[in-house]
Amino acid sequence: MSNFEPVVVVFACDYCAYTAADVAGRMNLSYPSGVRILRVPCTGKVEQLYIMQALQKGADGVLVAGCLVGDCHFKNGNLRAAARVKRVQSLLDDIGIGGERVAMVNVSAGQGAKFAEIATEFSQKIGEMGPNPIKQGAKAAA
């Protein structure tokens, strides 16, 4: 498991986290290459099903990255996203996948360094948890 490099899907809001990731790039800050960023118009657009499907398709962890609380371009998209993430976390706990594989984070557009730090830390945490348990089950079933 030592060479396990987790795949972490980040649903990043166009107005903040996505820009922050861009800033991180321009600052030449590095974060693990397993971090895959998907741009969304607002984290309020992230359906619970998107998170489930990312995991079902083999992601080891999912981050939903929205604007700082109070700064959502659409007023409360990030608050809705946080509530949805909570709901998905509890479902993931119930099915034995582990709710900690999913997290909601808030970053502003200028916080490139913070984005790189969050992506690195979360990726490390997932690395310690090990691969998405459905992969093991799929191997056993094959």
Partner: protein, 222 residues
Amino acid sequence: MITAERKPMEEIFRLIEPYGKILLVGCNECVTVCHAGGRKEVAMLASALRMGRMKLGAPLTVDELTLERQCDPEYAEELAMVVDQYDAVCSMACGCGVQTVAERYQGLPVLPMVNTEFMGSSESNGVWAERCAGCGNCVLGLTGGICPIARCSKRIFNGPCGGSTKGKCEVSPDIDCAWQLIWDRLKQLGQTELYSQIMAPKDWRTARDGGPRRIVREDMAI
């Protein structure tokens, strides 16, 4: 509308344990509105079941289908073409939908995926509250539009009881005393004389006490 909530996952996994291929069927009506068993919830549960079973090394094939109205034989008929391919049908509709499908496809296990709860209305986004108990003889015209059966914890007809305190029910401070609400509304309507009329004991035969009920409309039965 009829409200429902998804059953706990543990119970669902137990119900479907013997099966390898299921059809998960939602309903486009009440359970869509209360976010329990519409197309989205079907997709969420399907995904959760696929992952949960894959983790256990016992993969499950789940196909998804949402009917216009599952409690209507006409729509339940839509399953006829495909149903043979499955070990079981798992329904996300209310108990009426589950039974309609079970009645039509006698040879197949039809399992409920939600707990059907009450007839209610939306108080705000994500909040539903019980409003009617289907007693078969509505008294809302005498009670200022507030139901003493569905909204009074003791279903009393000449309330309030001694437990009503500052507008709240003794069962919980989160429950409004229905009889306080009735009194306030009658005052607002200038109809307090309705409150002084003693309501006769209710004939519960129009409710469930008379056995399972049916409505027959001969003019509609072609």
